[in-house]
């Protein structure tokens, strides 16, 4: 007998393209078109993995994405991917695959001791133990459990591959390209509407590719597939996607597809994405997801060499691989007979077909008998023997009442099982479709959904091929609108589905309390685990799932859910529809994280918004910080300077001569219209009616809950035009809030808002020399102290470039904010910079800006305030208009709680030690030593070394702070004695404001 299990004359693999790959370091031969599983099976190797809990040796049970056992790691180093199904991984030259969850090797795994301990490790054992002694759980037991669990190993280096994510739109999306899907796509496609057809396999055709029996329009099924695909390819309105799984059915017919592009290639073109996610918005969806054959649950059913009958057929017909030499078929339906017939033809010895049913008598059964296949009705498998490979099974008679008699043990190296077919309802359920239980078929079928979705073919319980094709075509045509010709095919030979099917644990002799009959193969959940869960009161199917972990393996219950349900149903003596099904959750099959992230990585992770002078700042050695999406220059260190030195120098220069600062990131909104002033009155806490054209005012925005939301200077450019500024982070929020009130509450106002944040670049020129530097540049504009006092605004030009010039200051110095068109700001910046050189003009960044404003006691919204501060709390009670009938926040600001004397109020803080700089966030307490838990009197919000005062300063929010000037408090440190501080007025520098008005 030849060593190979590969048959000539069978299969669709390309014999002209042999391929060698490595499995656990050893070369394995296969052909293009093989999967790792089919190539190993061709070698006679079924052992491919180890189970999760008991580390039992396992081989494939399926030939597709429902595989629970044969999980392998593929690729090396940063390209290692764990937990791939050997039944799906396509081989190519150089592929490196390893087995998983074994130590030291697949064949010898010390974890197998868990099998021996299995009587002590029933479902949920960990809830009942590991509680003693206290503290041992996460220090001792848990690390042990963790090491034993998990499957493959995560990569330990960043993934170098590319991924993509695209949107797509179509009239009809067909998920699944088996007979129903192909028929649906063709019927829809021929009407001319936009169709997308996707299938998770490398080839279209689904079960037809393994069907050597049926004839459609007189040709073999596979030939019909080729013909139909060719026809589809000719339709320009139809897009065909192979290796592409519909995995997520989202609201409103947004279906996500995962397309695998490179894993099957020996060498992928550079830059080709490894995977791509399609987010398809489909007007209608046809689900042609097919059905999955159910494993049977009997003792030892997990032994390598025991697999689904349909899988064995697929290995034979698609890969030309015979899964063994001598097989027992265990079935509860007719489909397995066709498999037995074909396998026998191919040279497999069929010991017997054991049929759970008493009177199997359909045509295919008769055909099997006629071909000399021994059929044993009313027979079950009591037990399978073997370790690395099934070696024998005990076949036992089942009487009409379900009692199992003494059987006989027959040797075999292969068991083909068939419990019937379960419709794939995953996507239908994700579409929030209802389920109906079909008593006759013994399965759930898709019911109604609010989405525009329909199912076709065996995923809705239609099994006979002629009916499937008709069902698919009708679904496709109806999805396309119903107008057009319905394609018709004649199935000239097919098997009828017949009656039968079985779910749950096979009947057995004796109680079987020690028998390991697996329901969820991967997670090692046995029939007795499920029964134990029920015994312990876990009677909801969701509870059983969670307590036993059945259905939680990487196949997400594809192989196990229905059997678990049936066992629960039987144990509780409650109809299956009363037990219910666990919710199917996306994704249908696992999807790579990187595909979701797509291009959002590195620099492209988020937009990086650069201010107009960013290039200049980079050229001048700025250190940057992220503020929202913006990158802002934080300080400009000179050689050898740290942040403190640089900031100290920058601040001193601003106070002594002048500084230049890119303030462009401040939000700006142009409020225009006849009712602009009225709008401003309603929106801000301040009054605006009296603000003259050409003047500015500091404005404060509250929410209607009375708490400070944002602030900024507002200039009145014209009677009907305000130039509003906001904080950098608040720009979008303030505009949205303005639109909200305007469109919802004040639709009567004739006023409109336009974001001009990016229209105007803003150069802040601050310091006693600012006017001197600026005056020569502004094209004849009079900016003298008399013509343009503090908080005035003028329009003009600067070097011929349009300008809105604000005389405002966030430093306490004489200062200007020069607004110029952002596209030309760099020109103006360079001009100002050049003009300032003789005066010692210095660039400064956000850190110095913070220090300078803190010296003046100006607040920063978001730093001093935290969403619970009122204007009064931060010393801005003066801004609240007393005469306006209403404004946002007015009502709330009158609440007693918002006016309580012990509210946190903004104060200045000085340490005893002038060189000690408090840390922002430090708490303030009444005594130097406080026993935890203690209450704070307040906290530090801003703290710096002040170059102007040559000492440390801080701003704090302190309970009743304004009435506690001079009081002593303490700031506890984490690792040293508390620091003594004194509360002072927050305006540390130039309290009279002489400089700003200079």
């Amino acid at each position: 007998m030849s060593k190979t299990f590969r048959l000539s004359g069978y299969g669709r693999v390309d014999r002209s393209r042999p391929v060698t790959f490595l499995f656990d370091g050893k070369p394995v031969k296969g052909y293009a078109g093989d999967t790792v599983a089919s190539a190993l099976l061709a070698d006679g190797r079924h052992l491919m993995g180890r189970s999760f809990k008991y580390h039992r040796p396992r081989g494939p049970v399926s030939a597709g994405s429902d595989e629970p056992n044969a999980l392998i790691g593929v690729g090396e180093g940063a390209r290692h991917t764990p937990n791939l199904r050997a039944t799906q991984v396509e081989v190519h030259e150089g592929l490196v695959a390893i087995s998983q969850n074994r130590l030291p090797s697949l064949r010898f795994d010390v974890g197998i001791v868990n099998t021996l301990a299995s009587p002590f490790l029933p479902a949920g054992f960990y809830y009942k133990t590991f509680m003693w002694p206290h503290g041992f759980w996460d220090k001792v037991y848990e690390p042990l459990i963790r090491r034993a669990s998990g499957l493959g190993k995560a990569p330990t280096a960043p993934d170098p591959d590319e991924y993509g994510l695209h949107y797509a739109h179509c009239d009809v999306l067909v998920a699944g390209a088996g007979p129903a899907g192909l028929a649906a796509a063709l019927a829809a496609g021929k009407t001319g509407v936009r169709v997308i057809l996707c299938d998770e396999n490398p080839e279209f055709g689904g079960a037809l590719l393994s069907d050597s029996h049926s004839l459609i329009d007189g040709v073999a099924a596979a030939q019909w597939v080729a013909r139909t695909v060719a026809e589809l390819e000719k339709l320009p309105n139809v897009q065909l996607l192979t290796r592409c799984s519909a995995f997520n059915y989202g609201p409103h017919n947004m279906v996500a597809l995962n397309q695998r592009l490179t894993d099957h290639l020996a060498s992928a073109p550079v830059g080709m994405p490894r995977e791509r996610i399609w987010q398809v918005r489909a007007k209608e969806v046809v689900l042609a997801a097919g059905s999955l054959e159910r494993p049977l649950v009997f003792e030892g059913n997990d032994r390598p060499g025991i697999l689904l009958a349909s899988a064995a057929r697929t290995y034979l017909q698609r890969y030309g691989v015979l899964c063994g030499r001598k097989a027992v078929v265990m079935t509860a339906d007719d489909a397995a007979y066709r498999v037995a017939i074909e396998m026998a033809e191919a040279g497999l010895k069929i010991v017997a077909v054991a049929d759970l049913r008493a009177n199997p008598d359909s045509a295919v059964v008769a055909e099997a008998r006629a071909r000399g296949i021994k059929v044993l009705p009313s027979t079950t498998i009591q037990r399978a023997h073997g370790h690395y490979r099934v070696g024998a099974v005990e076949l036992a008679p089942v009487s009409a009442d379900g009692a199992v008699g003494k059987g006989r043990t027959v040797s075999c190296d292969l068991v083909l099982m068939s419990g019937g077919f379960t419709p794939s309802l995953h996507l239908h359920c994700q579409a929030r479709g209802a389920l109906t239980y079909d008593d006759k078929l013994g399965v759930y079928l898709p019911g109604d959904s609010v989405e525009h979705v329909r199912s076709a073919g065996s995923c809705r319980g239609v099994y006979a091929l002629d009916a499937v094709l008709r069902d698919g075509a009708e679904a496709g045509l109806n999805a396309a609108g119903g107008e057009g010709d319905l394609p018709v095919w004649t199935v000239t030979r097919q098997d009828q589905p017949g009656e039968g099917g079985f779910a749950g644990a096979l009947p057995r002799r004796g109680p079987g309390h020690l028998a390991l009959a697996f329901v969820d193969f991967q997670n090692d959940v046995t029939a007795k685990d499920v029964k134990l869960a029920v015994r312990e009161g876990f009677q909801s199917i969701e509870h059983v799932k969670r307590y036993t972990t059945t259905g939680m393996a990487t196949d997400q219950g594809k192989s196990s859910n229905v059997n678990a349900l049936a066992i629960v149903s039987k144990t509780l003596q409650r109809a299956p529809q009363k037990v219910g099904l666990t919710t199917y959750r996306p994704p249908y099959t696992p999807v790579t994280f990187g595909a979701f992230a797509s291009h959002a990585r590195g620099d492209q992770f988020d937009p990086l918004r650069l201010a107009p002078a960013d290039g200049w700042a980079r050229a001048h050695g700025a250190v940057f910080e992220d503020v929202g999406l913006w990158r802002r220059a934080r300080y400009f260190p000179r050689a050898g300077e740290d942040m403190l030195a640089a900031v100290t120098r920058e601040c001193r220069m601003v106070r002594k001569t002048a500084g230049i600062f890119d303030a462009s990131t401040l939000g700006k909104i142009e409020v225009v219209g006849p009712d602009a002033a009225e709008f401003m009155n309603r929106f801000y806490i301040n009054g605006w009616t009296k603000l003259g054209v050409g003047k500015c005012r500091y404005g404060l925005v509250c929410r209607d809950n009375g708490f400070v939301y944002d602030d900024g200077v507002v200039g009145r450019v014209a009677k009907d035009r305000f130039h509003v500024t906001t904080t950098t982070g608040g720009a979008a929020g303030v505009l949205n809030m303005m639109e909200d009130y305007l469109q919802t509450e004040w639709a009567d106002l004739d006023v409109w808002l336009t974001s001009i944040t990016e229209e105007w670049g803003v150069i802040a020129l601050q310091g006693p020399k600012a006017r001197e530097i600026l005056a020569p540049l502004v094209d004849g504009l009079d900016i003298s102290a008399e013509a343009m006092p503090h908080m005035f605004l003028k329009e003009g030009t600067i070097g011929g470039i349009p300008m809105r010039l604000f005389r405002v200051s966030f430093t306490g110095e004489l200062g200007y904010e020069i607004n110029v068109p952002s596209g030309r700001m760099r020109e103006v910046w360079d001009r100002v910079w050049a003009a300032g050189q003789p005066h010692g003009l210095t660039p400064y960044g956000t850190e110095s800006m913070h220090v300078l404003r803190a010296e003046k006691g100006y607040l920063i919204v978001g730093q001093e305030t935290d969403g619970t501060a009122t204007p009064g709390d931060v010393g801005c009670g003066w801004a609240i208009s007393k005469i306006k009938p209403d404004f946002i926040g007015k009502k709330a600001l009158a609440l007693p709680a918002l006016n309580a004397p012990d509210r946190l109020q903004m104060v200045g803080v000085l340490t005893d030690d002038p060189h000690y700089v408090l840390e922002e966030g430090m708490q303030l307490v009444a005594a130097p030593q406080m026993q935890a838990p203690a209450s704070a009197d307040g906290h530090i919000t801003s703290s710096y070394f002040s170059p102007a005062l040559n000492r440390s300063i801080a701003i704090a929010m302190v309970k009743g702070g304004r009435s506690r000037m001079g009081a002593t408090l303490y700031a506890p440190r984490l690792d040293a004695a508390a620091v003594r501080v004194t509360l002072v007025d927050p305006v540390f520098y130039d309290p009279e404001g002489a400089r700003v008005n200079g």
């Binding site: 590319e162 993509g164 994510l165 695209h166 949107y167 797509a168 739109h169 179509c170 936009r194 997308i196 320009p236 309105n237 897009q239 996607l241 397309q259 592009l261 073109p269 830059g271 080709m272 994405p273 791509r276 399609w278 987010q279 918005r281 291009h599 959002a600 620099d603 492209q604 988020d606 937009p607 990086l608 918004r609 650069l610 201010a611 107009p612 999406l629 913006w630 142009e670 225009v672 219209g673 006849p674 004739d750 006023v751 409109w752 808002l753 336009t754 974001s755 001009i756 944040t757 990016e758 229209e759 105007w760 670049g761 068109p821 952002s822 596209g823 030309r824």
Partner: protein, 176 residues
Amino acid sequence: MVEITEGCVLSRLPASTRLILQGRQPALQAACGALGVETVPEMLCTAEGAGGHALRVGPFELALQPTGDGLAPLEAALASVPHSLVEVSNRNVSYTLQGWQAADILAALCPLDFSLAAFPVGMATRSILDKAGALIWRTADQTFHIEVWRSFAPYVEGQLHEVAKSISYNILTVQH
């Protein structure tokens, strides 16, 4: 001008005048009149007059692209109508994306349907290009005029290049 993938060219356009006009119907009508556009375009439609283009991007809003010095005639025409006219020439950076794969590339970043039936020539709308807002205007079968805010331009260019790199491979073509 960069050919970001075979047969697809991204060009950054020189700065030119961009205005946002907001107001009720009489204001939109007056502004269109000033540009030589007879009737206010329907939502998401565009119109061209002797004085420039008007893009109807909102029920009370036109994005105006006057040719030459369009501002003065507009201001004159609007003088007696409540309105807001704000210049955003510097806020917006304009591109054209041209080529047979232009729609495919946009479809990677934008959830709109770029088939000609759903997004015909002459349609303009604001939408998003991944994480940036954008104005997208189809000026020909295979040509899109795109405007984004200035600070988002490097990001959007980066995204377009990233997508273009991978677009040639097994891409679903936007169906026309």
